[in-house]
Amino acid sequence: MKRGHALTPVPAVPGRLLDAQLHLLDRQVIDNDGVPVTTVDDLELSGPALETELAPGTAAPVLTALLTGPVLGTRIFGGRPPSSRLIRIPWADVSEVGVVLKLGVSGEHLDAGWVERWIRDKIIARIPGGRHDPR
């Protein structure tokens, strides 16, 4: 597509260049103990909302959080759930991005793990032997 001028090249930045869809979406998130927390279902970006006029000098959008939530239906059929239904994992908690995303914090206090904790406390822990270490 012809434009008035060529797109400016991406500025050289310290650090890595990641593709959000390839490297972040659907990746496993693991806490600092190596326990899986969830998969990444969506990403939260800071910055102006869609379809608003950009004033000159607006800061570029920044990745602020990983999102997880009931997105299976919407990922397949389209649309997205309202933000209030998605659970945030702040980007500041992410310590490493590789084949999996590693967090620097324990999953114990994250909202993203509430289903696991609920099932653990209300169901599994009540069955005898639920806390027994098999190793």
Binding site: Q28, T38, I76, E116, R120, I124, G129, R131
Partner: protein, 409 residues
């Protein structure tokens, strides 16, 4: 010496763990109706499962991730969900069939009606999944399952006409009393029984459970390449026994009790004792593996914490999912549906689902980001592509043949 023992244990467990209720029933039905004219399918199936189990073990060892975890990342949620649904539903059917098989085997041993054994079997499966360490579980059921070698022993003791048997196996032909569509229907069933999808998920998740790394690849390769073919030979022995005793008597296998009659004829009460132990061990082991596979597929797709190496409290959704699966299997069985019928359908549906479950493994095994230098070599890829064609053909032909032959009757 210790390494040698470790290798031997791995191989023996692979042999003993190969046969499940699907293999038992399908091979016996085929032997009693078609003689050994479908043995070539077992060969094709064994080669296929060796190929794909090897691949999935390599994926787990090289990347530290089990197959299903990677499928969603690689293929996206839509394809991943299709894969998950097919695999999970077939798995659930197989869990039901295996628990039914345990109950039937216990009925044969005790003459207590199998419906009474079903809750016992389901509870026992759950207890082992809940408490017993992974390696102990695998080794005990695998080694006890080795007693099914009595099928091969009984076959020798029956002193069959080996030339005739070899002729049936090497020059396959549709027997006079059966039709060509039925022949091919049972070929697909036998193929699905040999290449069970859960085996691959279990193998790769088991590799992660036991903490395999690259240096364990040699052991895994030996387990697969020696253990699985020998397990395939066991399947052939089951068909052979049925072909030698049941086929001439005009008996078509429809229940588990008919499967063991040739062993009793060849090896007497001692053989009977061995085969009953083997039946219970093989079906119980397979019930454990399929239950765990249900948990693995769900947990790995949704990103839950999973694994028997973790305390149940640390893998809560994983264990809850398995409990629910066992309940569903139990509920289906207590309605009185014939477990052998469930088994016969589960192997055909396994064959139908094979392309969905195996294609992702092939894709992942070729991905350098996960595999590093251990991606598939050219010969493996060529063979895998050939198998994909076979799998696709079997999958597409299964439903029409099922309709035409009335599910093999």
């Amino acid at each position: 010496m210790k390494r040698l023992l470790g290798v031997a244990l791995g191989v023996l467990t692979a042999i003993g763990g190969f046969v499940d209720i699907g293999d038992l029933v399908t091979n016996a039905v085929v032997g009693s109706r078609f003689g050994l004219s479908l043995v070539w399918v077992v060969g094709v199936g064994v080669l296929g499962i060796c190929l794909f189990a090897n691949m999935s073990g390599r994926v787990a060892a090289a990347s530290g991730r089990a197959t299903f975890e990677v499928i969603r990342e690689r293929l996206g949620p839509r394809a991943g969900l299709a894969n998950l649904s097919a695999s999970f539903l077939i798995n659930l059917m197989t869990v039901t069939a295996e628990i039914g098989g345990v109950a039937l085997a216990l009925q044969l041993a005790s003459s207590v009606h199998y419906l009474l054994w079903i809750p016992v079997a389901a509870l026992a499966v759950w207890l082992v999944v809940w408490r017993v360490k992974f390696s102990i579980m695998e080794n005990v059921t695998g080694l006890l399952g080795l007693t099914l070698i009595v099928f091969a022993v009984a076959l020798f003791l029956l002193k069959p006409d080996w030339g005739n048997l070899a002729g049936q196996a090497l020059a396959p032909a549709v027997p006079a009393e059966e039709t060509a569509p039925t022949y091919w229907y049972y070929a697909i069933a036998l193929f699905g029984a040999a290449m069970t999808p859960y085996e691959v998920f279990f193998f790769s998740s088991g590799a992660v459970e036991e903490g395999w790394s690259i240096k364990d690849l040699v052991q895994s390769r030996i387990n697969v390449l020696v253990g699985f073919p020998l397990g395939g030979l066991l399947s052939v022995a089951i068909a052979g026994c049925a072909a030698v005793v049941l086929l001439p008597a005009g008996i078509a296998v429809t229940s588990l009790s008919q499967v063991i009659l040739p062993v009793a004829e060849g090896a007497g009460k001692v053989g009977l004792a061995f085969v009953l132990v083997g039946l219970v061990a093989a079906t119980f082991g397979a019930a454990l593996e399929t239950t765990l596979s249900s948990g693995y597929t769900l947990a790995q797709f949704f990103g839950w914490s999973w694994g028997k190496f973790r305390r149940p409290a640390q893998a809560a959704r994983f264990h809850l999912a398995m409990i629910i699966c066992l309940f569903i299997g139990l509920a289906v069985l207590v309605t009185g549906v014939d477990p052998v019928l469930v088994t016969e359908y589960s192997v055909v549906f396994s064959a139908i689902a094979l392309p969905l479950t195996y294609l992702p493994i092939l894709i992942v095994a070729n991905d350098p980001q996960y595999m590093g230098q251990h991606v598939n070599g050219r010969p493996v890829n060529v063979l895998a592509m050939v198998y994909l064609v076979i799998i696709l053909a079997a999958s597409l032909a299964a439903i029409p043949l099922m309709i035409v032959t009335g599910a093999g009757s």
